[in-house]
Point group: C2
Chain length 174, copies 2
C-alpha cells in the first residue's frame, strides 16, 4: 500500500514536471547556439521573475531575468553553486519614455518596456558538460536565431567578474 | 532497493511541491486596504511577468508588473476590457548601480534592483463591486500594511489618463 502511495506521488510529481516543460512561448527546439549547444528552452516566457535591470549606453534597454523552477528555488533558498538544470533567461526591451506620465509630470518620469531589443540570453547549469566555463553554458538568440560564435566567446570572460557568486550577476529581487 | 529509490524520488518530489506551495511572499490574508477592501493576494510573487519599468524623480525605482493567470491570458489575447478576477501586482525596488559593471565599463552602465521600495500595489478587476472606478479596485501596501485612505484616493484619478486602455498603463512586454 505504501509502495503504491509512493508510486502515485512519484508519478504525479513526474506529470507535474512534464507539464511544466510543455512549450508555451513557441520558438522552442530551434537551432542550437554555437560553442555551448544551448537551444531556446520551451516556455521560458512563463518562468518566474528573478529581477529587473536597466542598461545605459549602447544597450539602452530595460530587462528582466526569469528563472525556471530550479533557478527560483536555488535563489530563494540561497543554494550556491546553483544546481544542475538551473536555467535563467534574460529578456530585454527598448527603453521608452511613457508619454502619459511625461504629460502629467511635465518632464520625463516613467520609462517602460518597448519592443524587444538586444536578443534573449540564457545561462544553463550543467557542471559536467560545461566544466571548463564554471559549469555554465551561455546562449544568445536574436529574433529566435543564435548569435554567432564571436558573441558567445565573450560570455564567460565577462561573467568571470562574479566568479565568487557562481558567475551570476543577478541577485534575487524579493 | 527500488522501494528506496521510489522513497527518495517521492520525498524529493514532495519537498519540491511543498516548497513551491509555501507562501513565498508571506503577508497574505492580512489587513485590507481602505476604500477598495483589497487584501494582498497570496502567492503574487510567483505570478508571471507583464512588463518592467523605471521611474525617475522621487520614486527612483525599478519595477515589475506581474499578473495572475487571468491577467496574463487577457494581455496575451488582447481582451479588453480586462475580465473580472484580473489582478496585476506592481513591485518596486531601489534603483542601484551595479558595481561590477561600473568597474568594467569605467562609467555607470547597469542599474539593478536593490531593496524593495515604494510598496507593492495591486489592481483588481471586479466590474460590479468597483463600478464607480472603472471596474478596478486599487491597493497599496507598505511593508505588508495598507497605505492610508489619502493614498488610495489618488489611484483612480491618475489611471483616468488611460481610460481608453481600460485604465491600465502597462502594456505587455513580449
Amino acid at each position: 500500500m505504501k509502495r503504491i502511495a509512493f508510486l502515485l506521488v512519484a508519478v504525479a510529481a513526474m506529470a507535474g514536471v512534464v507539464a511544466s516543460m510543455a512549450p508555451t512561448s513557441g520558438q522552442a527546439n530551434g537551432e542550437a547556439a554555437p560553442i555551448f549547444g544551448v537551444k531556446i528552452p520551451p516556455g521560458y516566457r512563463d518562468w518566474r521573475l528573478i529581477s529587473v535591470a536597466h542598461e545605459e549606453g549602447n544597450l539602452n534597454d530595460l530587462r528582466a531575468i526569469l528563472g525556471n523552477d530550479v533557478a527560483i528555488k536555488a535563489y530563494r533558498e540561497g543554494n550556491r553553486p546553483f544546481p544542475d538544470v538551473t536555467i535563467s533567461a534574460r529578456l530585454a526591451w527598448s527603453y521608452v519614455p511613457l508619454e502619459e506620465s511625461e504629460k502629467a509630470f511635465g518632464r520625463l518620469q516613467s520609462f517602460v518596456a518597448g519592443p524587444p531589443k538586444n536578443g534573449v540570453q540564457f545561462m544553463v547549469k550543467d557542471s559536467r558538460k560545461y566544466a571548463s566555463t564554471g559549469g555554465w553554458g551561455f546562449a544568445q538568440f536574436n529574433d529566435g536565431k543564435p548569435a554567432d560564435e564571436a558573441v558567445h566567446n565573450t560570455c564567460f570572460s565577462c561573467h568571470g567578474a562574479v566568479k565568487a557568486r557562481d558567475f551570476v550577476f543577478t541577485h534575487y529581487a524579493p
